[in-house]
Amino acid sequence: MTPGSADQLPDAIVRVVARLLLGPSVIVAAGLIVKGYAEVGDGFGAGVIVALAIGLTYVALGREGAEAALPVLRHAPKVAVGGLLLALATGFVPLVSGNPPVTHSPAPGADVTKVGQLELITAVLLDVGIFLLVVGVLTVLLHQLALPDDEAGP
């Protein structure tokens, strides 16, 4: 986790494993969200799992290495804000139709369209929002903590 030079980086196995783990972790996270409403797991847990894989990449490759290998990481703040907006929107859109906030549709007892095990209800959108927020927030925190002091400090 020490920021900086290549001579401090962990050995090749850790680096390879870190790169390889990212894909499966995203699959696991997706599974947690899809199954979340029926079985164990939710957006928060899924988000932390993806963030853990990203964190491992930081450990393995260093900050610069990780951010060079995964340039998509620099969108983390946008992902966090987007996730929050999605969650808030899911919560407050029902107000428009005169319902209390966080009223999910279809209503309790109504029929639900199923795609495999995934039930298409708005609560899943809320979970996706939380997932994005958690991934974004934790990635930003990892980035901030990994920055060397002279760049970070005032």
């Binding site: 939710d42 932390v48 703040p77 929050l84 808030l88 809320l126």
Partner: protein
């Protein structure tokens, strides 16, 4: 204004100021106010409108607005005067910023608050719900804090802003308490429904008194009046708006809105009369001796809103109608006078009556317009002010001889101080240089003076507006027909007596001034401001003492959490019956797996307490976390276990990352050892207390028989919400609103971290 004027005095003429770019923010705010005025006017002419949206239906809360008579009056006043003051402010603020050598970007610290204030006033005027009323009430206070403290480099501006905020916001809590009291009794926050159902009784009296406290503090009534003269540290457009027609008017607006409730209790109405009378006298007498222009006007405002409070105290058709008319007439006149004071100070660099004089020859238009505004305040004929006093006298006559005498004295005081203000400013020998003038600083005063004269001839539109507003306050029809009567009716005699007495006050200016200043000095020594300052200093000292103790070192910071938590739990423990609440269960099945895991957690915890090496502490912490996660998994909470595992992993990672940033030396000897054996015992005591409290709480909770709790109900409802997993359904649905708030906090925390580490840059 004192600092600014000193600046000015050094460089009279002040042509050297660099010109600032046009104030488009100010004109945008002005456009907002104008369009608000037009909309309110159209709405009023169309017979009013109302809108009601659900907000929190389970609590009976709705976003309930209506442009009724009262709402229209205050909304038109706030937007109409607002538009003029904003136009004035575009010129004033540019000059003000140029004086203080501040950049034009500072306008962003001013105009958004002004515009928000206008919006909040319209919201307050049209709100039909006690909670909404409270929200807008506090919103105006928050805006006023930033506006009064606009010159934030000056200490007095900051103190004044804080004082205005504290006095009005702390007393506004009384409004909320009253709302909750009424809700508890009648089950609604809606004002029209309360008006329809509430009867006389103790609850009504207490709630009415509480509302009155909030409203009177806002309207700067004795004894909570002291914030207003201090608030004159604000730039003049702020005073011309907030301290004439808006912020102080918000208090009496609330009185007018809930007046049918107040009228259920004689005690509350009498209280209003007493407070209003005291404010009339204190404000009027103190205004007679003030030297600083805006201070005269500030004390005058205290006195003038005293009139309105007395009128609401008198109540009935006459009182409520006159109160509404008074607010309208006073708001227009007073903001014109405030703008006059600002224009004079900007042109001469002086802000004291003793250094000004003879301005009538140099600024005839301003002198005439200000004269009309002053005449309107002093209730001279051919101005709208005459009718405000006529209606006031009528209501006072109905209320009895004491109120009648008070009314005459009040009008005489007004005549005296406003006459003195105008004469010292515009007549007599010229004392100050007149520098550059801006037309825009004079034009709004002229417009308001024109309004005062036109309404002084044709009073019907003002009277119609005020009658409609009085009808709402009175909950019964009110008709107002102000007119000139050339006969010896009592109102006319009272007006003559008031002018005569006021003329005497003017003639005996010097002794009256001494007496007034003597009273002001006595008030400063013994008055309520002293009590406010003593309270504030006392609280600050207690808070500082606690804070110093808490942040002295890591141990006291931890103790500050552990000891109060332990003591509170112990208190709860002592207050609740414990018989049968603690049971020792049996160990069976999976419990045999849980026990060693808990043992592992205990051992790891002890290791944390004893270890000196950082990495060992972090690893031991994660052992505790994983052991507990395993316990969750075994106790049938796989969701919690999953979250615990992933969070624990992340925490360990972050801890290690932080350790990598610390210097290489270990933590050294723990401070407990350094503090000696007594320190160690103290630590044990604090930790033991908190630990025991938690132990007792958890044991008591686990002893509860299953199936009678909220959780059972949640398990029952889960399938209906299309879910199989209770925890997910709770987070996403049952407690969804909590989740939304919590995730918002998460993002706020990240922004906090970014602010601490990287000056707010997220990436």
């Amino acid at each position: 204004m004192v600092e600014a004027s000193r600046d000015r005095a050094e460089s009279p003429g002040n042509s050297a100021h660099r010109a600032l770019s046009p104030d488009w923010q100010g004109w945008a705010a002005c456009a907002v106010a104008v369009s608000g005025f037009v909309l309110c006017l159209v709405g009023r002419l169309a017979g009013g409108w109302s809108v009601s949206l659900p907000w929190a239906p389970s609590r009976g809360l709705r976003l309930d607005f209506a442009l009724d008579g009262l709402g229209a009056l205050y909304a038109l006043l706030a937007t109409g005067v607002g538009a003029l003051v904003f136009a004035y402010g575009t010129a004033y603020l540019s000059l003000h910023l140029a004086h203080e050598r501040r950049p034009a970007a500072e306008r962003w610290r001013f105009w958004p608050w002004m515009a928000l204030f206008a919006v909040a006033m319209v919201g307050l005027a049209t709100a039909q719900d006690l909670i909404l009323l409270f929200v807008f009430f506090d919103l105006t206070a928050v805006c006023s804090y930033f506006l009064i403290g606009f010159d934030r480099s000056r200490r007095e501006a900051r103190t004044a802003a804080l004082m205005a905020l504290l006095v009005t916001v702390v007393s506004a809590v009384a409004l909320l308490v009253a709302a909750v009291l009424l809700y508890a009794e009648y089950g609604t926050f809606s004002i029209p429904r309360l008006v329809a159902t509430v009867g006389a009784g103790t609850t009504t009296t207490v709630a009415g008194a509480l509302v009155a406290v909030a409203a009177l503090a806002k309207s700067a009534q004795v004894p909570l009046h002291f914030w207003l003269p201090r608030a004159m540290a604000a730039p003049t457009p702020v005073s011309a708006y907030l301290h004439s027609a808006a912020m102080v008017a918000a208090g009496v607006l609330v009185l007018g809105r809930v007046h049918p409730l107040l009228a259920r209790s004689e005690a509350v109405l009498s209280g209003l009369v007493v407070v209003g009378a005291a404010s009339i006298l204190v404000g009027g007498v103190l205004a007679l001796g003030q030297d600083v222009l805006k201070q005269v006007l500030a004390y005058s405002t205290i006195s003038q809103y005293g009139y309105v409070v007395v009128l609401y105290g008198i109540g009935g058709a006459a009182g409520n109608g006159a109160a509404a008319f008074y607010v309208l007439a006073h708001g227009a006149a007073k903001s014109a006078l405030f703008m006059t004071a600002g224009a004079v100070t900007m042109a001469t660099g002086e802000d004291r009556l003793s250094r000004l004089g003879g301005l009538a020859r140099r600024t005839p238009v301003l002198a005439a317009a200000a004269g009309v505004a002053a005449a309107s305040l002093a209730a001279l004929p051919l101005t709208v002010g005459f009718f405000k006093d006529e209606l006031f006298f009528t209501a006072a006559l109905d209320a009895g001889p004491l109120t009648t005498a008070l009314a005459v004295v009040a009008a005489a005081l007004t005549f005296g101080y406003i006459g003195r203000f105008w004469m010292l400013l515009f007549l007599g020998p010229a004392r100050a240089e007149v520098g550059g003038r801006s037309r825009l600083l004079v034009a709004p005063v002229v417009v308001l003076a024109g309004v005062a004269v036109v309404a002084g001839v044709v009073a019907a539109p003002f009277a119609g507006l005020a009658a409609a507003a009085g009808t709402v306050s009175n909950a019964a029809p009110v008709t107002l027909s102000p007119a000139y009567h050339l006969d010896a009716r009592p109102e006319n005699l009272m007006a003559l007596a008031a002018w005569l007495l006021g003329g005497l006050l003017l003639a005996a200016r010097a002794p009256v001034g001494w007496a007034s200043r003597g009273l002001a000095a006595a008030g400063a020594r013994l008055g309520p401001r002293r009590a406010y300052e003593a309270t504030l200093h006392g609280l600050a000292r207690v808070s500082a003492a606690l804070h110093d103790r808490e942040v002295r070192d890591l141990r006291t910071s931890i103790a500050a959490v552990l000891v109060p938590a332990g003591l509170l739990t112990a208190l709860a423990f002592a207050a609740t019956p414990t018989a049968g609440a603690y049971r020792v269960g049996t160990v069976s099945g999976a419990d045999w797996l849980v026990l060693p895991l808990l043992g592992l957690a205990v051992v790891a915890t002890l290791a944390i307490a004893w270890s000196r090496a950082r990495v060992a502490v972090v690893l031991a912490l994660s052992v505790v976390g994983f052991a507990l996660a395993a316990v969750y998994a075994l106790m049938g909470a796989p969701d919690v276990a999953l979250v615990a595992v992933v969070v624990e992993t992340m925490l360990s990672l972050v801890f290690l990352a932080i350790l990598a940033r610390l210097p290489r030396d270990g933590p050294g000897r723990p401070p407990a050892a350094a503090a000696g054996p007594s320190g160690r015992w103290r630590d044990l005591l604090a930790g033991g207390l908190a630990g025991l409290a938690v132990f007792a709480s958890v044991w008591g909770f686990l002893s509860q028989p299953a199936g009678t709790s909220v959780s059972a109900e949640q398990v029952r409802l889960t399938p209906g919400a299309h879910g199989g997993d209770v925890v997910t359904v709770i987070v996403a649905d049952f407690r969804g609103l909590d989740t939304l708030v919590e995730v918002t906090v998460l993002l706020a925390a990240v922004i906090g971290v970014a602010a601490l580490l990287r000056r707010g840059r997220l990436w």
